[in-house]
Symmetry: C2
Subunit: 196 residues, 2 copies
DNA sequence: ATTTTTAGCTAACGATCGTTAGTTTTACAT
DNA sequence: ATGTAAAACTAACGATCGTTAGCTAAAAAT
């Protein structure tokens, strides 16, 4: 039997993950209950288990989906023949846009990964560490090529990624500032701080 | 009767709060249990309630203690006769040092405030909003006085505060980079990005 | 030395948690 | 129309949660 499909051609599992992502962000993974989630899906709690294996499987799906998107975009950027500075701008803009378009998913991947069970936790942290290492190397190359001012690459990576993840608190008060203004001002700030 | 005092002239309530801050950071407020906490304090879970009223009282103590420290430092800075840019540097350095010296407390104040019960939650968010507003106004003044490059003040505040809160992931791998290098590089990055 | 207060203990409460078992309903395939 | 498999339901499990009650031991005040 074909999977039942809701709106947007998504499977019910996908609906569960989507609703869960909102709930996990609002209450945190630990405080969000399966019964809570069931209400939002419009079903009894036990019925969720016809589509998923466990609560933490949902968290795994979210965290690794986000990680894969960032890693595969990084591969694309690396394959391009742009300057190091331009590459960094591409990556920064991608992060900002991900934070806006897939806010719930990115937020959870950023804040709730602690609750991943092993061996997924180690796996996730390895991917994260590797991603940041590549970014630091990219900045290092930019410094050597005199495109980027001398700065500790690891600190720069930390500063950039953290700054972007702070868009979370903009999400709660969208009214005052538009997405475009936010993106361009943040890129301006972060890239100007890098430029030689 | 005088309160019993442990090491460092701190009351037992203070010891509980200190141990709780480590636990809340490691596991999250929701996932950290009172029985967990009791083990770290060296006491039965029920005995904790001779010193505190509830689990969330601990969270309140931590969140508002941190908030008060930042607010009172901001008052000091505002009372000084420095340039807007210099004031921002003072504030940035204070945030970075707080993140290093009182890591556990600041982290919890940053990440676990969601679990505050009302009316403390609203109270906390009001203080936070107000603090950021003052910072944005400070940057606005700097722009008018031509000390700071034209940038959306709110975005700058967001970028700065978020960047600093990212020091959390440095805390887990202190070995590679010293505190001084981190502070100076981060200040360099964030202040250069502001300078006209 | 006696009284009073503080702080620890054991035991248990009601609630809620993630999850499983067993059954019934729904919906597609033939 | 009938068979079959997916997906819903009800009920309940064992565990763990924050917290309270009642009691005992320790320590300070008198």
């Amino acid at each position: 039997m074909a999977k039942i499909r809701g709106k947007k051609n998504s499977t019910k599992k996908e609906v569960i993950i989507e609703k869960a992502s909102k709930l996990f962000r609002e209450k945190g993974f630990g405080a969000a209950s399966m019964r809570d989630l069931a209400v939002h899906v419009g079903v009894e709690a036990a019925s969720l288990y016809n589509h998923i294996q466990s609560k933490s499987e949902i968290l795994q799906a979210i965290c690794f989906r986000v990680a894969n998107e960032f890693i595969s975009h990084l591969d694309t950027v690396q394959a391009s023949r742009e300057s190091s500075l331009k590459k960094m701008e591409m990556i920064i803009r991608f992060h900002i846009r991900m934070m806006m378009d897939q806010y719930e998913y990115v937020y959870i991947s950023d804040h709730e990964w602690r609750h991943l069970p092993e061996p997924y936790l180690s796996n996730f942290l390895n991917q994260r560490r590797n991603y940041r290492k590549i970014l630091a190397e990219l900045i290092g190359e930019g410094i050597v090529k005199d495109e980027i001012k001398p700065i500790e690459p690891y600190v720069a990576v930390l500063t950039i990624l953290s700054a972007i993840s702070g868009i979370e608190s903009w999400q709660r008060s969208r009214k005052h500032i538009s997405a475009d203004v936010l993106e361009n001002n943040m890129v301006k700030y972060l890239i100007e701080g890098l430029k030689k």
